[in-house]
Symmetry: C2
Subunit: 214 residues, 2 copies
C-alpha cells in the first residue's frame, strides 16, 4: 500500500513554495541543458563542477530521507518529486496537465536537448514517459484512478524536439479497469499514438468508489 | 533522414571527455537529487538558485546550437545527449548497457528520488523510457537496428526505487522488423515486462544489410 502524507499548508506557504522551490528546480533545468551543450574549455568545466558540488553539499545539510513522495495539502496533490510533473524535479519538463472531470487530460510543452534520442528527435522512451503520466491523469480526472496496467505505443514518425502537445481521454471503464487512448504530437499531428489500461489497486478499492463513466 | 556527424578524436581526447564532461554531468545529477530533497530555508535556496544561474551563464558563453545529436568517432558512438545513456545528460541515470552480437542487452543501475512516480516507486513511464533504450540497443547489437515501431508494456507490480536490472533480447527478425522482448525488475524478479518491434527506416535500408538472425 502506498503512503500519501498529509501536510496542512496555507495559501501563502503554497505560493512561496512554488516561487522558491519551483524557481530552484527551473534554474537547475537550465543548468542541465547548458551542461549538455557547453563548449567552454575543460579547465573552466572542472571549476564549474567543483562549484556545483559545493551547492549540492549546502542543499544536503538538511534533507529528507529517500524520495519526496506525495503530500496531500487540502485539495492540492503535491507530487513535487514526480519525474514528469514534479515542481521540484529538474528531470520533469515539467508538464502542466490540464484536465476535465469527463476524463480528458492534455498538455502543451517544449522539449529541448535533454530529451533527445535520435539526432534532433525526442527519445522514443520520453514520449512513453510523458504519455504514461497524461494517461494516468485522464483516468484519475474522470473518477477512475489507477496504476498503469498495460501501455501500448505505436510510433508513427519521429517526434521533433520543440513545441509539442499530448492528450488523453478515457475510452471506457470496465470495473477496476480504465481504458485510456491518446497521443503525443507536433503541429503536423500525432507522432506517437497509445492505449493504456489503468487498474485500481486492490488496497485502494475501499477508498475509491469508481463512478460510472458515460 | 537523420544526421550523424563524424568527429575524429584520439583515445586521450575521449578519455578526457569522459572525465571532465562526464564528471560535470555527474555533479549535476547529484544537484538534481538534492534540489528535490533539501529542507534548508527559503533564503538560502534563493541564493543557491542565483549561483546556479551564474554557472549556467558561464556554460552558455560558448555552446552548440540546438541539441547534442550523435557523433561517430571511430568505433565509438558518442550519443552524449541521449536521455537514457548520455554521458553529458543529467537526466540520464545514465544506463551503462552491455550487449552481445547475438542481440542481447542488459543494464544494472540505481534509481533515486528523481525517477519517482507513486510514493517510493519508479514512475511507470520511466520504466518505459529505460526499456525503450535497452530494447533498441539489443536490436542494434544483433545487427538489426531500427527506430521504435511499437512498444507494449505490462506492469506486474510496482518497481521500487533502488537497485534495478533491465534486459532485452531479439526474439526474431522478419525483414526490416526486429521483435524484442525483455523486462525491468528488482532482486525479486520482473516488475514490468515488454515487447517491442524495431523498424529499419526506409532511408537507412541501403546503409544496413540486415544479417540473418538465428
Amino acid at each position: 500500500m502506498l503512503e500519501y502524507r498529509s501536510e496542512e499548508l496555507s495559501e501563502d506557504q503554497l505560493a512561496r513554495e512554488r516561487e522558491v522551490k519551483g524557481g530552484l528546480a527551473q534554474s537547475t533545468r537550465e543548468l542541465v541543458d547548458a551542461v549538455i551543450r557547453s563548449t567552454i574549455d575543460d579547465e573552466e568545466l572542472g571549476e564549474i563542477s567543483t562549484q556545483i558540488e559545493t551547492l549540492t553539499a549546502r542543499l544536503r545539510t538538511s534533507q529528507i530521507e529517500g524520495s519526496f513522495g506525495v503530500a496531500l495539502s487540502g485539495d492540492e496533490v503535491r507530487n513535487h518529486g514526480n519525474a514528469v510533473v514534479g515542481l521540484r524535479n529538474a528531470i520533469a519538463p515539467p508538464l502542466e496537465v490540464l484536465k476535465t472531470d469527463e476524463g480528458r487530460a492534455w498538455a502543451d510543452f517544449t522539449l529541448g536537448a535533454a530529451y533527445e534520442g535520435p539526432p534532433g528527435l525526442v527519445h522514443g522512451g520520453v514520449s512513453a514517459l510523458l504519455l504514461d503520466q497524461v494517461f494516468g491523469e485522464a483516468a484519475a480526472a474522470g473518477g477512475s484512478p489507477g496504476m498503469t496496467g498495460t501501455l501500448t505505443l505505436r510510433y508513427r514518425r519521429g517526434t521533433p524536439l520543440g513545441n509539442l502537445h499530448a492528450e488523453a481521454r478515457i475510452d471506457r471503464v470496465e470495473g477496476v479497469k480504465t481504458f485510456v487512448t491518446g497521443f503525443i504530437g507536433d503541429a503536423d499531428g500525432p507522432t506517437v499514438e497509445a492505449e493504456g489500461i489503468f487498474i485500481l489497486p486492490k488496497w485502494a478499492r475501499d477508498l475509491f468508489e469508481p463512478k460510472p463513466f458515460e
